[in-house]
Each structure stands twice: as C-alpha cells, then as structure tokens.
Symmetry: C2
Subunit: 209 residues, 2 copies
C-alpha cells in the first residue's frame, strides 16, 4: 500500500494515534478531527493529515474521522490485524518480565516459546511456558514458524544468539541487548537500547540552559 518509503517518525506517530483512538473509542466518541488527535499527541493537525495521507483518505471533509473506522485502518496499516508468533530468547530478569507483559498479548503478539542457554533455567516453567534450550529453536521453527524473536540476553551473547535465530529462519528480531547487532538484509531488526536512552536523558539534563 505505501507508495514511497514511510519515515520512521511517521510510523511512530501512527502508533501513537492508534493509542489515542482507542482511548477516544473507550470514551464513547464516534468522531474525531485531526486537530483533536494532534492536540492529544503534541503535534499539529497538518502533521496528522499528512501522516494519514501516505496511506489513503480516511476522513470526511467538514466532519473529521469516524473513530471506529480510523482505528481499524490504523491497525491494518500497522499490521496488527493478525497475530504474531513471538519467542523470547534469554529468560533473565528482562526476558521474564517481557514474557508476562500483557501489553504484548493484547496487541496480538503471542508469546509461544521461551529459550535460554542456562541448564539451570531449562525445563522451568515461566508463566505457563517451559524454558527450552536455544538449540531447539531451529527445529521448533521448522515445525511451527515463528514471526518474531525477542532477544533479551547479555550483550556478550547477543550477536551469537541473533546468528542462531537467523540461521533458524526467523526474520523478525526485537533486541533489548545494549549493542549494535548485525543481520542479513532480509531480516528486520529493531533494537531498544536502554543504556542509550539513559544517555540521551543524561545529555538532555546536562544541556538545559
């Protein structure tokens, strides 16, 4: 559907809009204007309309957008109308926090497998799922393909684990490891680096007038 490449900043905002639309929907509103969406998200109405315009025409002039309809369009655009099969690799503190995080399940990210390399952890149950050895990923993925692997292992192991995940044929990766990872071009990688986020905050705090 998107004719040209969509900017990352646009996708982030779409995600925000979806959140606001869900709020509006829960509040019982049936109609919303670009101005109201913009106010809620700290941006401008022109920005909202431009963002949407990359994907089509969703509103009625003079009237605004139907909340339910736009919500559904956002979901479709973001690829949230389907379920995603997710595995978590690295069942430490962060991994197990993610395993039980309801925000994921709610949006259709189904955690279907937990993996670790530590023999002490393998076999344990975490939130109704057994922890399996990392070596099992390849075969498990053959039997029942996985869409996304969440990487929550220490920095020192992350690239090796990513290589294994890629070799197993998984092409979507979400990493929480605080390092720069390398993947082939046909694999989509998204990294959340908390250390970097704190450094950004540190910079901002250090440079306030």
């Amino acid at each position: 559907m998107p004719l040209k490449r969509i900017a990352d900043s646009t996708v982030r905002r779409l995600s925000l809009y979806l959140r606001f639309l869900e709020e509006f929907e829960n509040a019982g509103l049936t109609t919303v204007s670009s101005d109201e969406l913009a106010a809620r998200g700290g941006t401008t109405s022109a920005q909202v309309r431009k963002d949407l315009s990359f994907f089509g025409s969703f509103g009625k002039r003079g009237l605004g957008y139907q909340v339910a309809e736009l919500t559904q369009s956002m979901r479709r655009i973001l690829g949230l109308e389907r379920d995603w099969r997710v595995i978590i690799v690295g069942i430490g503190k962060i991994g197990s926090a993610l395993a039980q995080y309801e925000g994921f399940q709610q949006r259709g990210f189904r955690v279907v497998g937990l993996y670790d390399s530590d023999p002490a952890k393998i076999g344990r149950e975490v939130y109704n799922l057994p922890v399996l050895p990392i070596e099992a990923i390849a075969e498990d993925n053959r039997e029942r393909p996985v869409d996304i692997a969440v990487i929550a292992v220490p920095a020192s192991a992350a690239q090796r684990v990513v290589d294994q995940v890629v070799a197993a044929g998984i092409t979507g990766i979400m990493s929480f490891a605080p390092i720069q990872l390398h993947v082939p071009a046909d694999v989509t990688l998204n990294t959340v680096n908390m250390a970097m986020e704190l450094e950004r905050l540190s910079f901002a705090l250090s440079n306030r007038e």
Copy 2:
C-alpha cells in the same frame, strides 16, 4: 557548549560512537578514523565528522582521532563524567529488572531508591535496597536530591505517579509506561514505549516488498 540545538538523531549516534570507542579501546587501538567509526555504526564518515563538529574539533587531519581522548570527550558531552542519582518507581517485573541492571550502574546511573504503592511490596529488600512508599519520595528528595526518576508502573497509574515525582521536585524522568505523559516544560522526560516498538516492527514486517 552546543551552539545550536542538537538533533536527537545526533545524540543517539554519539551514544553509539561512545560504545564503539570503548570497544576499540578494549581492543587496544589508540587511533581511529571517522571512516572506521562509520563502518562500525552503519553510517558515513561525513556523518560522523558532522556530528562531532557540533561540539568542537577532536581529530588530527591525516591521522584520525585518539581513541582515549575522543572517548573522554564523548563522555563529557553526554554528561557521563558525573554520577546520576536515580530512583525507580514501580517495583514490578520491569522495575526490579531495571533495579539490578548492571548497564545502568556501569555508566554512573546509581540506583539510590526504590518506591512502590503496593503495601505488600513496601519494606521488602530488592538487591540491597528497601522498597519505600511513593509518598516518601518528596521528603527523601529534599534530604538528598535525586536526578532521575525511572517510572515503571502500569499505564493507568503512570500520569499520577509522574505528577507526584514532579511535585517532589525531580526534573529528570525516564518512563517505561506505554502512554503519552505530560510534564511541565522544566522537566525533561524520555519515554521508552515497548508496545510502540513492537508495532514498529509489526509495520516493518508487514510492509517488506
């Protein structure tokens, strides 16, 4: 030091460069070129030089940069030469994972307090720190000021908790709550929204050619 406003993308890259420089330093390299830094970070040498040029002149023409010297400059620019006093509010799965995350301590982010509103959690020790009631933040901050509050409470409580933290006089906030928070202009807020990050991945996976 920065003459004009520095782009967020620039700060993110500085953070990356610092990480690479530390790798190079550990590997025993004493000198590095903008080309080598760029290759490591998936950017261009011109980008590296432009990023650095906002803050001064750090290299020698024909030779490159002294690794140790540039590392230190990056630390200074990012505000990492000092320690930051950090509290964590919300000692659930994510909060306690963050409390023990070594990546934070390593870069001078000292966790000095844990707070929660759940009476069942208050009083417990988590990694050598007692969990205190949220109401205590204001007085604790008066006695010994805190630089950064990490917010790891559920979405439904996040804005209220942020208001309390702001009222207590803390002006740096790092939030992991999956909602848009509002703070006064003199408070610096940085949000990591994991749900949004997964949606970004979902979008990317849905729109591969």
